[in-house]
Symmetry: C2
Amino acid sequence: MKPVTLKQIAEQLNISVTTVSKALKDYPDISNKTKGLVKELAKTLNYKPNSFAVNLRNKESKTIGLIIPEIVHHFFSNVIKGIVEQAEKKGFLVIILQSNESYELEKKQLDLLLSQRVDGILISLANGTADFKHLNEVIDQDKPIVMFDKIAKIVKCSKVIIDDRKAAYAATQHLIDIGCKRIAHFRGPLLPQNSIDRFLGYKKALLDNNLPYDPSLVYICDCGDTSFEDGKNTAKQLLEDHDDVDGIFINTDLVAIGAISEFNKLGVKIPEDISIVGFSNWFMSSVISPTLSTIDQPGYLMGKTAFKQLYKEIKKVKKDEPIIPKIIELNTKLIKRESTNLVLKN
Amino acid sequence: MKPVTLKQIAEQLNISVTTVSKALKDYPDISNKTKGLVKELAKTLNYKPNSFAVNLRNKESKTIGLIIPEIVHHFFSNVIKGIVEQAEKKGFLVIILQSNESYELEKKQLDLLLSQRVDGILISLANGTADFKHLNEVIDQDKPIVMFDKIAKIVKCSKVIIDDRKAAYAATQHLIDIGCKRIAHFRGPLLPQNSIDRFLGYKKALLDNNLPYDPSLVYICDCGDTSFEDGKNTAKQLLEDHDDVDGIFINTDLVAIGAISEFNKLGVKIPEDISIVGFSNWFMSSVISPTLSTIDQPGYLMGKTAFKQLYKEIKKVKKDEPIIPKIIELNTKLIKRESTNLVLKN
DNA sequence: ATTTAAAACGAAAACGATTTCGGTATGTAA
DNA sequence: TTACATACCGAAATCGTTTTCGTTTTAAAT
């Protein structure tokens, strides 16, 4: 019924708790005979060390915390998978928390994880996070923390990201290459770094190609729960505002899919009238009609990489060595599909 | 640097550890003055109770384990979200593990969670799980465990499910209602209960409507990583095998989407030539062309409900009361879309 | 038989919080 | 003055492991 303890094993064998503990951990000062007896009894009693006691002694939990803005999300769920799998390989368990894009929740959750004495933290910031005290607190406690995807450049910790600016540049350049002259941008919220960087990449591509940058062609989408609706609405708005746009670079596939949906409904031909490039390479993008050109964003790899970095830092801290923050940039890839499948315009 | 302990607070205030502990927990035998002092210092020192020590004393971790076959999955990620949100509300943390549809992994992970001394376990079984010893072990230890979606009827624990048979029946009946006479079924693997039940619902609907049941019209799809491809291949195979099929009830939306994709490519008209109903109501189903009729499966609610049930059982166990296993059935809904949008055939 | 080294085991202190059970004060009533 | 509450506080045991530092036992050497 109640879990077996070392003490019970010791009593049954008429030896001390110390000996039992040592036998199970193969200490050299225990005879093979005793080891055999102990291990056998431990197995038949189905002994499992009490992790609370072990953690208390060893001051480590073999557990990490993960804070993510949204679980139901193609990219993030891939990240989660990468983290969880890699963690298990190294004997770590993952506590998952969802910030719901809320700064307040994020703060509370970080605190929760600290109370829980996790060995390290992986976090992708909420859109609303503009203040970083809560993150710096973690760092001040020498608790390893690695940020991924949605990061704050200013915080001094390791980060795993993609080069959003470069990727956005490539996406926009692709639109230009197929002949687009008036390219709009559906960007994400104002705060998150990747949303900023994607916008900057878009802008730079325009300027480098001697195309005018027109702020009225830049629309803001929430990219949250309402992404799809956002895409539809923004697409409609765009048509009302401008009749000469021939290409759009969109911050997120889901928004892009909303836009495509709306354009399909309104009879706007893609890619003939308007060509579109999305971002993230959601599975859906390869299925929708027309299939969506996009930037492939390696979620699974990002999760895996983030955990690996965190793991290194956890080991460092255990050896009382200083953590040297590292910025790891993962490669993205432009995926050309039907939504930009066009011979040159004009 | 190192986390603050009760002892440090006690020393700074020249009082005992006992008093500090009691003050923080508002024991009546501590003066308000002392309480004030202690609480203030605790706050300025940013004291957080060491969860290992607390757990060790209290024999509870305020943590539950979640084992799920696949994280990157529309339905399951909704379940996860429901669980995580509800758990946090009740002050519980969730450790997430992915079995990858592997019985061996599932067994190992259950053991891990038991070692970790989680207060309860939520699990959706791997397809490969046909032996239930590992689950019964948990129950024998009086550790609450609630199964959801992919369950084993024979295991004596609470379960949160949908009535797969009824839902499948409704889906098939819908195909019949719009005039389909030769209805195929792409079923899931042989083992999981829901895959079996959906098949049975399909079969019963045929017989109840005096349509012959033809085993050669039932195809098995993996419904794993390769769902989409599976759908495409099976669709192609179906066309080769039978030229008279006019409707398909498909075990999973993703497989259905693969099938639609293939039919679109091959020029088979949906719903005119073949009508299709899927299962789960993945977001994608409302976006694909034609939009897919399907069964709405309440993932978020299922997660929420499963946690609530687990929570009740955890409280029961704490009060040394017996657990009475409960089976909770959630409602599904037939969603009619373009893939069955047809005036009667013939 | 005595010494010495090696092998095998255990006592006890930690880890940090909780809680029971007493022990001082202080004040009030007899 | 004594008796008795009441209000406050603390010592110590406990949870289950780990690990240090002895201690005992055994075997080998003198």
